[in-house]
């Protein structure tokens, strides 16, 4: 395998594995919400094992390329917590405090460039996901970013943050975007009509 393809594979595959981990954890946490909205949820397929498979997937991703997959996972956690920034969690901290703490830890452990790239990239994906899922989330009674800031603003902000993440790390961006696109394609193929 040529070094370029090998280098790309060592970014794309960990991103797919990390995306699987994030999706399984997210589905596990959103079981009730998805049941209400009638959306498909991997927790219904895997049961409580979803969280274990998520951990396994993240471990494999970290084994292949820790400097890409771990900041992405931390950024997902940080953005996810920021959604419920007023709510107090089991740790005793509010969503905003947890979000900032995870971000600061990520910067200390993985450097500001990796963490900032991950934050902007994940935020962009989150915004695009909210833009696409605006009606599904409305049915479930959940106010996502598209509801809060407006549909067009959500899409424009998603494009803007995607471009900023590209500017921050131009060598990581193509691989991470390709990995995310592959994961989303598989997900849409699996969830079609459900």
């Amino acid at each position: 395998m040529s070094p370029v393809i090998s280098e790309l594979a060592f970014i794309v595959i960990p991103v797919i594995l990390c995306s699987i981990a994030v999706k399984l954890v997210d589905d596990f946490l959103d079981r009730d919400l998805d049941t209400r909205a009638g959306c498909s949820n991997f927790s219904n397929t895997f049961g409580n094992g979803a969280i274990v498979y998520g951990m396994l997937s993240l471990s494999l991703a970290a084994s292949m390329n820790a400097s890409v997959s771990i900041p992405l996972f931390l950024a997902s956690y940080s953005i996810g917590m920021f959604n419920d920034f007023k709510k107090t969690f089991t740790s005793g901290l509010s969503g905003l405090q947890e979000s900032l703490l995870v971000f600061i830890l990520g910067v200390m452990l993985w450097g500001w460039q990796n963490m900032l790239f991950s934050i902007f990239f994940i935020f962009s994906i989150q915004l695009f996901d909210d833009y696409v899922d605006i009606y599904t989330d409305q049915l479930a009674g959940y106010r996502n970013f598209a509801h809060r800031i407006g549909k067009v603003e959500c899409l424009l902000l998603s494009i803007l943050t995607l471009c900023i993440s590209w500017r921050i790390s131009e060598h990581l961006f193509p691989g991470v975007l390709l990995g995310t696109a592959i994961f989303y394609s598989i997900l849409f193929y699996y969830q079609r009509g459900r």
Binding site: G150, V152, E153, L156, L157, I159, L160, C163, I164, W166, R167, E170
Partner: protein, 88 residues
Amino acid sequence: MLLIVILIVSTLLLGYLWGKHDGRAEGYRRGTVDLPLLLREQSLEQGYCVLCNEKTPEQDVFSDAVITLFDPLAVEHSPAHDASTPMG
């Protein structure tokens, strides 16, 4: 190149937000001006006046309402209005 794209998208976003904000303010102002007239028109069509809470005569109510919207003084001298008043 990427910086130019970032600049363009930022400008689009800011312009959209600015336009939306101004549009909302303008819409509210226009709504405040038009709403009393629309309410009055609708109430007159249904046979009562929303301002004085009096029933309007059933005959020719709509033409009275339309005349009132454009020229309130004309109603007082319209044939329908004259016919409905005790002295008319």
